[in-house]
Symmetry: C2
Subunit: 215 residues, 2 copies
């Protein structure tokens, strides 16, 4: 698949790494084109399988899946501006709409960043929540403590959930389909607790992951 | 500690098992006294460490910690009726206020079963959310796939969180303090997804657990 990642930060690096391991072609586009070029160059040197390059916004038109790897406020704005040209495409929201104290979500009770982004993008865009519980460094390695990451996937479009599950599995991760997009609220809520656990005494320093452990 | 468990079902069995492994004394009280006697007899035969007996409601007065091991609607009613005699005691809410389809919580957005139970019990009761993400059979064994269960703990009373964490750790489980009681919403929300994952195709059949996996 053609994966376009919007953003050139740590989450872009992590998700791009998994997509390249899965043999997909990745285009990095960012507000600062130099950063996109730098990230693409670094990923290219690692020879993961798929091809990677930096690109401009025209990469959106060639993409099968677009990933908004930027913070929630920026993602909501980009969803609104990109929405009309993403008709029929899968748009992945990875954001965590947390306040600075990691004590609450900044979206209203009963809704989620993903639903806000879906509303901004418009009904023709197939919005999927994924990768919000996986920290950047864990995505780069694909595992924590030797166990593949769980990637929780929510969308009102069942085929889109399946496409993202295939992307996730191809990169060596474990997709977990949790159903409708409204369940992004529960994913964002639990990740708020997970984030707060990183920085307290004895915390995990952004190296842990949320996993459904089965026998 | 003296632990009184209200209820004689599978969750009562699981939590009682952990408390007995931890060397605590457990009293089982239930609407149907015969069921309480039967569970206490079965647990007693297993010789876990602590002492276990069935009792009537007077066991509430001797308890350091009271566990409401009944469904949410019953727990809310019991919290209201027991509240006045539980002044200063720790009351553990384990409930999951899910609808029959496992698609939504039955408590309003922005609140939780735990906060409802705290309101019903009254300010003098130290309400703690715990054990809502651990299925009964996993509590009996204390582990899933060889790894100890995480038990997520929320309360506005920091000392109460610590007491419940000690109870959890004494039974061989891993306490995870997530802070204020309002975060019960996030625990109940994510457990809704976890419960729905049990019954779908390829589901976990009530044998999995939610874990924060660290390196």
């Amino acid at each position: 698949m053609n994966i376009t990642i919007v953003g050139a930060g740590n989450m872009a690096r992590g998700i791009a790494t998994r997509a390249l391991v899965g043999g997909h072609d990745v285009t990095i586009t960012a507000k600062d084109p130099d950063k996109a070029v730098q990230l693409a160059d670094e990923l290219s040197e690692q020879d993961h399988g798929g091809q990677v390059a930096a690109g401009d916004e025209s990469a959106l038109d060639r993409a099968d899946i677009v990933v908004l790897a930027v913070p929630f406020a920026a993602a909501e704005q980009l969803a609104a501006s990109y929405g009309p040209r993403l008709s029929g495409k899968v748009l992945i929201d990875i954001s965590n709409p947390v306040d600075a104290s990691l004590e609450a979500l900044v979206v209203a009770p009963g809704t989620s960043a993903a639903e806000r982004i879906a509303a901004a993008a418009g009904e023709q865009v197939r919005v999927v929540k994924a990768f919000n519980t996986t920290f950047a460094t864990t995505l780069v390695s694909g595992q924590v403590g030797g166990t593949p990451l769980d990637v929780f996937i929510a969308s009102d479009d069942e085929a889109a959930r399946k496409e993202v599950a295939d992307l996730v599995a191809s990169g060596g991760l474990n997709p977990v389909d949790v159903g409708a997009l409204k369940h992004a609220r529960e994913l964002e809520g639990f990740q708020l607790l997970h984030m707060a656990l990183q920085i307290r005494e004895g915390g995990h320093n952004w190296a842990s992951t949320i996993k459904i452990v089965a026998p």
